[in-house]
């Protein structure tokens, strides 16, 4: 069964016989042990354009400058370690292929904005996680535990599916102009995680979470700029989730 699709893939494979290109990475460097100033530094490397930006950063770290510092772990968009600003947009370095971001020009890489930079691409994540913890991101139930599982219809489960995908990478929160101006704002990621529980039919603390988000630093600060939705590497409709929380606050129905 030499299907047409298999032949097509074989042809693609042949074409893929990899060719390297020369790319410039322009990286925002900062190391307070060395200097109080942040600077841009250029690195040139030969790389297969089908590789990830993360592969490029590794190549620099492993072959050119071991002091280049960034976080990473899974390398395929699941752990949320490596959100950074790549060509001015928040993305995961491990989910961005070099060929997709115009490698003919220098590729700029900077830390995400709105959180204190600690070294190179590493920022202080504590305020981000604190906002997350503040929205009661856990299932709250009262009454006796059932002996078996709680029942939930497939439709009820679907209601909050989108917001369960969050990997807490901070790409959304650190793309939000309101958050840049005021770090007190909970930010999109915390609201997404509140949404995940508010709309879970098993949960009984929706009111409390809504009250937390009714705060002056809560959902009403959102200006619906959609930066967060664009930035989310998991494709979560972040702005829509925030709108749903706002609506729930008005109607008290969720």
């Amino acid at each position: 069964m030499a299907t047409p699709t298999m032949d097509k893939v074989a042809a693609d494979d042949a074409a893929a016989a990899s060719h390297l290109i020369t790319v410039t990475f322009r990286i925002r460097r900062f190391n307070p042990e060395v200097s109080a100033e942040a600077t841009w530094e250029d690195f040139q490397l030969e790389i297969d354009p089908k590789e990830r930006v993360l592969d490029g950063l590794h190549k620099i770290k492993w072959e050119l400058d071991g002091s280049l510092t960034f976080r990473r772990s899974c390398a395929h968009g699941i752990c949320g370690s490596d959100a950074m600003r790549i060509n001015g947009k928040n993305r995961l370095a491990c989910k961005t292929l070099i060929k997709d971001i115009n490698p003919a020009k220098p590729i700029t890489v900077e830390p995400i904005k709105g959180l204190t930079v600690l070294k190179d691409l590493v920022v202080d994540m504590e305020p981000f996680f604190q906002a997350y913890r503040d929205v009661m991101p856990f299932l709250v139930t009262t009454g006796n535990e059932p002996t078996r599982e709680r029942l939930q219809s497939a439709e009820d489960r679907e209601r909050f599916d989108d917001t369960t995908k969050c990997i807490l990478c901070a790409a959304c929160t650190s793309s939000c102009p309101v958050f840049w101006n005021d770090g007190q704002y909970f930010g999109p990621a915390a609201i997404v995680n509140a949404h995940r529980f508010i709309f879970d039919s098993r949960d009984e603390a929706g009111e409390q979470r809504l009250e937390i988000l009714n705060d002056k630093d809560g959902v009403w600060r959102c200006r619906t700029t959609f930066n967060c939705t664009d930035a989310c590497p998991r494709g979560i409709e972040v702005t829509k989730a925030i709108q749903e929380v706002k609506r729930a606050l008005i109607t008290r129905r969720y």
Partner: protein
Amino acid sequence: MKIHKYDTVIVGAGGAGMRAAIEATKRSRTAVLTKLYPTRSHTGAAQGGMAAALANVEEDNWEWHTFDTIKGGDYLVDQDAAEILAKEAIDAVLDLEKMGLPFNRTPDGTIDQRRFGGHSRNHGEAPVRRSCYAADRTGHMILQTLYQNCVKEGVEFFNEFYVLDQLITEVDGVKKSAGVVAYELATGEIHVFQAKAVIYASGGTGKFFKVTSNAHTLTGDGQAACYRRGLPLEDMEFFQFHPTGIWRMGILLTEGARGEGGILRNKDGERFMEKYAPVMKDLASRDVVSRSIYTEIREGRGCGPEGDHVYLDLTHLPPEQLDAKLPDITEFARTYLGIEPYTDPIPIQPTAHYAMGGIPTNVQGEVLADNTTVVPGLYAAGEVACVSVHGANRLGTNSLLDINVFGKRAGIAAAEYSATADYVELPENPASFVQEQVERLRNSTGSERVSVLRKELQETMDANVMVFRTEQTIKTAVEKIAELRERYQNVSVQDKGKRFNTDLLEAIELGNLLDLAEVMAVSALARKESRGGHYREDYPNRDDVNFMRHTMAYREVADDGKDSIRLDYKPVVQTRYQPMERKY
């Protein structure tokens, strides 16, 4: 140097560590030390599901699950432990649901279940739906749910703390755990944690292979720390190669894809698994499928110009099914290969996936100093440990289960122990080993580079101790690893700073990988048989007379400081199931 005192210290915040932490925090003053933020742990990458004989969609029971686990492990499984695993699976899944885990649901609103490799009804009759899942994000949901519950319980985390040494003090001739030494990434400061009980939950060690589904951070730090202090490592020759990694990259495509009906095909489009496993076909156990793939490739039926991969074909499945059940892995194919899985088959190859071996424990999670003696105050759970519920080959969905069942057990056992035990005195200069290690690397002017050595290690491991092994290939690996360990003495790092010095930590991690790779290769050389994930072409049959036993590897240090590996063996616990030939 700072000194901290806790009743219970947990090393690692993946599934096993956080499941333990939820129990331990309720019962004792607990600290969790983790080199990654908890939600970055690799449990989050797990896709397919978690096994439990809930019987929500068809008849099933824990005895069948026990049997499948033992058979899947090629009878090297300790049968008492497998029985606990299968029995407690049901509560483990229900616990997670009650904590909030958003499982996929059946039309009745109960937890939905699907097929997975090696799980069968009535002792191998036909595949059974036993895997509880949340799309292909089950690990993500487990990790998030456990973290959420840690927030709820107020678990105390020390994030980005790397544990680099295990402290052991001999009291009246008994080796006891006194605590651990950790390096704080942000500052470079060294911390000593004195603890009555320590639980290792630091995960796997797949990074000594090149093509692997494992994260960059899975470098076997916990195994290495214990091994260096004279504790044994069990069954390290058994490593699982998952059949479906993305070609060349190793990123996993869950077995759930075949559970949903996906088919493996060679370059002629043939469904080749029908030849190798007539009943279970594409859902035979992983070692069987991985060997079948490489047999196809070797016999010239591989795909692509170099004939070095085969296809995972999902094109006959409805797009709605792919979107609902396999959204993440289909997106991986689009993102990393530019392939549309609705219409095109996905190039795959086996990928180094899971360490069956590790720190030996009993079913309470207590670490063993030899075949029978427990190390008071020391526990391990999850992929770092070897209970052994996986034997020579782990069944899919049994690890997410393992981390929950034995994470919970270890958390309770450790906290109960620390409630009554006294602190063990710290050794003199408790931080000296780590201090010297860090200083030596920072000050070294040697000419060797970490990345070069690591690449050579990964290449030799892929070439010589992967799916097919022979005496000759393993010896080649042993020699190469010895050379690399020698050269490692001459390694230097470029970053000399204290702040977020990941350059330094990669060097330390490489040292751990080298030690463990050597243990793996030496253990594999001595096992002159084929069993589960360990396949010797020069000894293609299982040999129950000589090798129905666990390997126990110890580090011996000679007077001149040179170290070597001593191998010993431990009997397998057999209760009900007599070894049979494994057929799928």
